[in-house]
């Protein structure tokens, strides 16, 4: 559906956003704590975090709706920290539908051009081109109320890109849509962004959405930047237990270091319940220090000949190509993902298993 010809609307591929040491508190609550993020030209960056993580505060500061207590924001090399929003030349799509109800769809899209003193004929032509870009040709004369939620957000997107803004900001624009439409539009927005080559900062609390769309993801929690990286990097090498738990599925197992270790070592720990396992130390540990071992469901393997940790099968959840087992270990209940039918067939609820993992997949984090 994206193969049709389009009038390219963009030209600027050189604008990067730089957020430096940004700090913002509301009374006693620190909303953003000394955050530094660089968004490269043409990059799709997702700000990911639970509610209250500071991701929206950060976006509001970039948009100019709120000013930081300290720190600096640059867009395309220009310091915009204190610049009012209408001078920043940004595009933005909001969580709520924000098409002006008293204007037609076409007038909505032409609005930013009108603010930029573009002539009537030119702005109508460009608005129509933008409408075609989001595949809503022929909807120009309707009022926003006559469109579905998904269509309204597409028009909002067209309105946000029609004037070739330096950067496109998106504040959970798909959260009001149902799952199927949301997934369609994720792909569509991603394609459009690549085609236009525009930098995007996309706020979301949905890790799947971030993984699907973003070139890089910045994970925030309680106002602090946890990690910035490509989706694969965050998934495979989470920098903290929070990131490990927030991105993808993870089992946590408390443990105690059996020896001193430095970051990157494979070392032995004593797991809760008494089993001993080899894990990867993500940071330096001292002997006997309390740690948390994070292991993905797909990295827990069945050990041959009962050589691993014993566990009882609580439940087996069949989902076509994969089966997820809930197994009760001597410690916590783990989720184990089996992707081959043979493996799955050999397991029945009530039976026992022997589990193992590769040390490099079991990442141990210090418990603070």
């Amino acid at each position: 559906m994206l193969e049709r010809t389009r009038t390219p609307v963009s030209g600027r591929h050189d604008c990067h956003v730089s957020i430096r040491n940004l700090h913002k508190a509301y009374g006693d609550v620190v909303a953003v704590k000394d955050v530094t993020i660089e968004v490269k030209p043409g990059e799709f960056l997702a700000l990911l975090g639970p509610s209250g993580s500071g991701k929206t505060t950060l976006l509001m500061a970039v948009a100019g709706f709120d000013f930081p207590d300290s720190g600096r924001i640059e867009i395309g090399g220009q310091d915009v920290t204190w610049m009012p929003p209408h001078k920043r030349d940004l595009g933005m799509v909001f969580q709520r539908y924000t098409l002006f109800p008293h204007m037609s769809v076409l007038d909505n899209i032409a609005f930013p051009l009108r603010m930029r003193k573009v002539g009537r004929a030119a702005r109508e032509e460009r608005a129509r081109a933008a409408l075609a870009t989001v595949q809503l040709e022929g909807y120009g004369d309707r009022t926003p109320a006559q469109l579905s939620g998904g269509q309204q957000q597409r028009v909002a997107l067209a309105r946000a890109i029609v004037y070739n803004p330096k950067v496109l900001l998106m504040d959970e624009p798909l959260s009001a849509l149902d799952k199927k439409l949301r997934e369609e539009m994720q792909v569509e927005i991603k394609h459009l962004q690549r085609e236009l080559g525009i930098s995007v900062i996309f706020v979301t609390h949905d890790q799947t959405e971030a993984l699907t769309m973003a070139d890089r993801i910045a994970v925030l929690n309680f106002g602090e930047l946890q990690q910035v990286g490509a989706p694969k990097e965050l998934y495979e090498h989470p920098a903290s237990a929070f990131v490990a738990g927030f991105i993808g599925e993870t089992n946590f197992w408390r443990a105690r270091a059996k020896a001193d270790a430095t970051a990157g070592d494979e070392t032995e720990v004593e797991l809760d319940g008494g089993d001993t396992a080899r894990v990867l130390a993500t940071q330096a540990f001292r002997r006997d220090q309390a740690v948390q071992v994070a292991i993905r469901p797909e990295h827990v393997k069945l050990a041959p000949n009962a050589s691993g940790m014993t566990a009882a099968i609580d439940d087996a959840i069949y989902a076509g190509s994969i089966t997820t087992l809930l197994v009760k270990t001597k410690g916590p209940t783990l989720r184990v993902r089996l992707s081959t039918p043979d493996e799955a067939a050999a397991t029945t609820p009530g039976g026992t298993l022997s589990l193992t993992w590769e040390a490099r997949h079991a990442r141990a984090y210090a418990v603070s």
Partner: protein
């Protein structure tokens, strides 16, 4: 896009047509007995006593004095509407962006006069504007005037006092309309390149139009039929329609002619309301946000 439901909703419950009628019955009964019935009788007198004739209505339009009163009533009402709009809009805009104590104080300042009798508020203006009143004292003290100036019994004084009395009826609908505009619209306009003035002109003003028009309509209609303030502040030279009607009824006992005056006023008001609804098209905003 859902049509308005035909049954009434209250707290999530839907009432049957019979129950709806029952709930509205006391109100409807009062409207019929205390409003429609006397009004009908008055209009009947103006048209059918002793037999069908238009003499009373011809009199309204034939004699210059009555047309002058009508013209003055419309002129004063228009001025009052414009002045209250100019006073109320900035205040309502401030109130819509305010929370907490300041909002409570502002709301109280708007509502308190409403809880005070119109008579009291009008007498307050008498105290301020009379020959040896506060305004004359101040102007005299500042050597702006050398002798007391006549403020009472001028059209300006009537407009001023009426604007004060009717201000809450402009502030409240404006406040409600401005408050209902989601801040995201303003933010969207800003980020799209609109400065404060453009945000106001292209977004806030058009979206507040239903509130603005209902406020204007309410103040204008109340002003047209206003009695106490023009009767006390104004003199015979500032007579408005309501005073004229009262005079016809209580002093001249000319009920048929009073009925004709009321009939003309009623017709004019109806035309105005219908025209307003056409122009503003309030229905456009139904079903959004």
């Amino acid at each position: 896009m859902s049509r308005r439901p035909s049954t009434f909703m209250l707290g999530g419950r839907t009432y049957s047509p019979a129950a709806s009628l029952l709930l509205a019955l006391p109100f409807l009964a009062m409207i019929v007995l205390a409003f429609l019935l006397p009004l009908g009788m008055l209009l009947h007198e103006s048209l059918f006593v002793p037999s069908f004739n238009l003499a009373n209505y011809e009199k309204v339009f034939d004699q210059a004095v009555y047309l002058r009163v009508m013209g003055r009533t419309l002129r004063i009402s228009a001025f009052v509407t414009i002045i209250t709009l100019l006073l109320a809009y900035p205040l309502a805009a401030l109130m819509a962006r305010t929370r907490g104590l300041l909002l409570a104080i502002l709301l109280l300042a708007v509502l308190l006069p409403l809880w005070t009798s119109v008579l009291v508020r009008t007498y307050a203006w008498l105290v301020l504007l009379q020959r040896n009143g506060v305004l004359n004292d101040i102007l005299f003290g500042l050597h702006i005037i050398s002798a007391p100036t006549q403020f009472l019994r001028t059209e300006g004084a009537v407009v001023l006092a009426m604007s004060h009395v009717l201000l809450p009826f402009m502030v409240l609908p404006l406040y409600a309309a401005l408050r209902a505009i989601p801040n995201d619209y303003v933010r969207a306009a800003q980020v799209l390149g609109a400065g404060s003035l453009s945000v106001f002109r292209h977004v806030v003003l058009p979206l507040s139009l239903p509130g603005t028009s209902s406020g204007c309509l309410m103040v204008f209609l109340l002003a047209i039929g206003f009695f106490v303030t023009p009767a006390l502040i104004g003199g015979p030279q500032q007579m408005m329609l309501a005073t004229l009607v009262q005079q016809q009824v209580t002093e001249l006992l000319n009920w048929p002619f009073a009925g004709a005056l009321v009939g003309v006023l009623l017709l004019f008001v109806l035309i105005l309301v219908i025209a307003f609804n056409r122009v503003v098209r309030l229905d456009r905003f139904v079903g959004q946000v």
